[in-house]
C-alpha cells in the first residue's frame, strides 16, 4: 500500500510543472498541455483520497467528470487555436497580441 502522502507529493509536483508551463511557454498548444497537467494533478488527489477510505466514491466520480470536461475544453481550445492560426499564421502567444493591454 503506497502511503497517501506520496500521491499528494506527486500531484503537487505535477501541478507545479503544469503551472510553470502555462506561465513560461509561448506556444498556445503547449499552454493547453500545461493546463491538462494541472487538471490531472487534481485528479490524482481526488482518486488517491477516494481509495484511502472505503466507501468514499465521490472523488472517483469527480475525476471522471474532470476527464470529460478536459476533453471538451481541449476540443474547443484546438478549434480556437486553428481559427487563430488561419488569421495570424502563427500560434506564438507573443505575436498573437495586437489588442493593447
Amino acid at each position: 500500500m503506497i502511503p497517501i502522502e506520496l500521491y499528494f507529493n506527486l500531484s503537487a509536483f505535477l501541478f507545479a510543472v503544469g503551472l510553470g508551463i502555462v506561465i513560461t511557454r509561448k506556444n498556445a498548444i503547449f499552454v493547453l498541455m500545461g493546463i491538462e497537467l494541472m487538471l490531472n494533478a487534481a485528479n490524482i488527489n481526488f482518486v488517491a483520497v477516494s481509495q484511502s477510505e472505503s466507501g468514499l466514491l465521490e472523488g472517483q466520480f469527480f475525476a471522471l467528470f474532470v476527464i470529460v470536461i478536459a476533453a471538451a475544453e481541449a476540443a474547443v481550445g484546438l478549434a480556437i487555436v486553428l481559427k487563430v492560426y488561419s488569421y495570424f499564421k502563427t500560434i506564438d502567444l507573443d505575436r498573437v497580441n495586437e489588442l493593447k493591454g
Binding site: I35, L39, A42, F62, V66, V76, V96, N97, L99
Partner: protein, 495 residues
C-alpha cells in the same frame, strides 16, 4: 427492482427543482432543430428564444414565490432557496434584454448558434447559483466558460479570434487552479458537499496552512469569473473585440452568477469567524484594489467598449464591497445593487451596440455632436452614464447609497478598520468615475462635428423602446426604491 423504482420516483420529484433549467435544455434542442429545418429563420429563431426565456422567467418567478423553505435535490447536489431564485430571476431578465440587444445587429452570423450558446450560459449560471456541492460548482463554471470562449469568437475577425484564445487560456488555467483547490479541500474534509456539517467540522479541525492555500485557490477561480483584482486582466481585451451583445451578456450573467456562488462559498469558508483568517478583511482589500484598478484604468481609455469593461470591473468592486460588510442587510443591499447594475449596464451596452452597428462607432470621439441627430438616444445615454456613476436622480445613486450605508453600519458595530478604509475608497472612487462616465455625454452634447451622421428617422424602433423602458426602470428605482426593496426583503438567506 423496488429500490430502483423508488429512486426513479425520487428523481422525478427532483425534476420540480430544476424545472426552468430542464425547460431551457428542451428549448436549446428545439432551437438547433429549427436551425436545421427552417429556411427564413431569423425572425423565427429570435421569437422562439425570446418567448422561451419569457416562459423560463415565469417558471423561475413561480419558484421564487413557492420556495419558502430551502429545497435540496439530486442527493444534495443542488439547493434551491429564495436567494437563488431571486438571482435566477435577475439572470432571466438580463437574458431577455440581451436577446433584444442582439437583434439590433442584423448581420450577426450564425445567429442560431449564438442564441444556443447564450442559453447554454444561462443554464450554467442557473445551476451554478443553486449548486451546493463542489462538483456542481466546477461543472457549472465549466459550462459557462466553454460556451463563453466560443461566443467570444463570434465577431469572426482577427481581434475576436485573438481574444477568444486569450480568454480560453486564462479561463482554463483559472478553472484548473480552482479544481486543484477543490481537490485539496476534499482531501481535508472527505466530502464535496460544502454546506454540510461534516465539511465544517473537518475544516474547523484542519491545519491552518493547507486550509488557507486551498481556500485561496478556490477563490482565485471564482474571482476570475467575476473579474475581480488580480484576476481581471482578461476582461478589457475580451470586452473590446467580442460581439457587443455577447459582451453585454458577459458583463452581467456570468458575473452575477459567479458573485452569487462566491457569497455562498465565503459564508461557509468564514467558519463563523473561527477560521485562521478573516476572509471578509481579504474581501475588503480585494474590493478596494478592484475599485482602484477599474476606475483608474478606465480614465485613460478611448475605446468605448474597453472603458465599459473597466467600468464593469469597478462595479464588481462595489458588489464585493457591499458583500464585505457581511450582514443580512448588506446582502440585501448587494441584491439591490445587482438589480440596478444589470439595468444600467445593459442600457449602456444597448446604445453602444446600436451606434456600433449603425454608424461603426468605437471611439469616444465618434460620439461628438450626436445630440443634434439623436436627441432622445443621447439623453437616455446621459441618464445611463449618470446612473453608472452613481448620481441622483437615478437608481445608481440609491444602490451606491445603500451599499455605503451597510458598510458604515457594519463598521460601527464591528469596528473593523478595513471597512472604514473601504468606505473612504469607495467614496473617492465614485468621484473619480465621474471623469470617464461623463466623457461620452460631454462629447455628445458640447462638441460639434460629425455632420455626416444621418439619423435613421424611425421613432417606433426597438432601441428607442427598450432604452426608454430601461431608463424608466432606473428612474423608478430612485423614486420608489421600496418597490424593489419590498421584493428583496422577502428573500430568505437560509442555506
Amino acid at each position: 427492482m423496488e429500490g430502483l423504482g423508488l429512486k426513479l420516483e425520487l428523481i422525478m420529484q427532483y425534476f420540480q427543482v430544476i424545472l426552468p433549467e430542464l425547460f431551457l435544455v428542451c428549448l436549446l434542442v428545439i432551437l438547433v432543430l429549427v436551425d436545421l429545418v427552417v429556411k427564413e429563420k431569423r425572425g423565427v429563431l429570435i421569437t422562439l428564444t425570446f418567448v422561451g426565456v419569457l416562459v423560463e422567467l415565469y417558471l423561475v418567478t413561480h419558484q421564487y414565490f413557492d420556495t419558502t423553505q430551502p429545497v435540496s435535490g439530486f442527493f444534495n447536489l443542488i439547493l434551491l432557496n429564495s436567494y437563488a431564485a431571486f438571482w435566477k430571476m435577475l439572470l432571466s431578465v438580463s437574458t431577455l434584454v440581451v436577446i433584444l440587444i442582439a437583434t439590433i445587429n442584423k448581420e450577426q452570423k450564425r445567429l442560431a448558434e449564438f442564441l444556443t450558446l447564450i442559453l447554454t450560459i444561462l443554464i450554467g449560471a442557473n445551476l451554478l447559483i443553486m449548486s451546493s456541492n463542489l462538483l456542481m460548482i466546477f461543472l457549472s463554471v465549466e459550462v459557462i466558460s466553454i460556451a463563453s470562449y466560443i461566443i467570444t469568437t463570434f465577431a469572426f475577425n482577427r481581434g475576436s479570434a485573438e481574444s477568444g484564445l486569450k480568454y480560453l487560456l486564462f479561463g482554463a488555467a483559472a478553472s484548473a487552479v480552482m479544481l486543484y483547490g477543490m481537490s485539496l479541500l476534499y482531501a481535508q474534509t472527505l466530502t464535496l458537499e460544502y454546506p454540510s456539517q461534516q465539511f465544517l467540522d473537518a475544516l474547523l479541525e484542519a491545519e491552518p496552512l493547507p486550509l488557507i492555500v486551498s481556500f485561496v485557490l478556490v477563490l482565485a477561480g471564482l474571482f476570475f469569473k467575476i473579474a475581480a483584482f488580480p484576476f481581471h486582466i482578461w476582461a478589457p481585451d475580451i470586452y473590446t473585440s467580442a460581439p457587443t451583445s455577447a459582451v453585454a451578456y458577459f458583463s452581467v450573467v456570468p458575473k452575477l452568477a459567479g458573485f452569487a456562488i462566491l457569497t455562498k462559498v465565503v459564508l461557509v469558508f468564514n467558519l463563523f469567524g473561527q477560521g485562521p483568517v478573516n476572509w471578509f478583511t481579504l474581501l475588503s482589500i480585494t474590493a478596494m484594489l478592484t475599485l482602484v484598478v477599474g476606475n483608474f484604468s478606465a480614465i485613460w481609455q478611448s475605446n468605448v467598449k474597453r472603458m465599459l469593461a473597466y467600468s464593469s470591473i469597478a462595479h464588481t468592486g462595489f458588489l464585493l464591497a457591499g458583500f464585505a460588510a457581511f450582514s443580512e442587510t448588506a446582502l440585501q443591499h448587494v441584491l439591490f445593487y445587482a438589480s440596478v447594475y444589470l439595468t444600467m449596464n445593459l442600457g449602456a451596452f444597448l446604445l453602444v451596440q446600436y451606434f456600433e452597428v449603425k454608424h461603426n462607432f468605437t471611439k469616444v470621439e465618434d460620439y461628438k455632436g450626436l445630440i443634434n441627430t439623436y436627441p432622445f438616444l443621447s439623453i437616455i445615454f446621459l441618464i445611463f452614464m449618470i446612473s453608472l456613476a452613481g448620481l441622483p436622480p437615478t437608481g445608481g445613486f440609491t444602490a451606491k447609497y445603500l451599499v455605503f450605508s451597510s458598510i458604515w453600519d457594519s463598521y460601527s458595530t464591528t469596528g473593523n478598520q478595513w471597512l472604514f478604509y473601504l468606505l473612504i475608497f469607495g467614496l473617492v472612487n465614485t468621484v473619480i468615475s465621474l471623469f470617464y462616465y461623463l466623457k461620452i455625454p460631454f462629447y455628445m452634447i458640447f462638441r460639434t462635428g460629425a455632420d455626416s451622421v444621418v439619423a435613421h428617422k424611425n421613432n417606433l424602433s426597438l432601441e428607442n423602446f427598450l432604452g426608454g423602458l430601461l431608463v424608466l426602470a432606473i428612474l423608478l428605482i430612485f423614486f420608489k426604491p421600496d418597490w424593489l426593496m419590498g421584493m428583496i426583503n422577502s428573500v430568505s438567506f437560509a442555506f
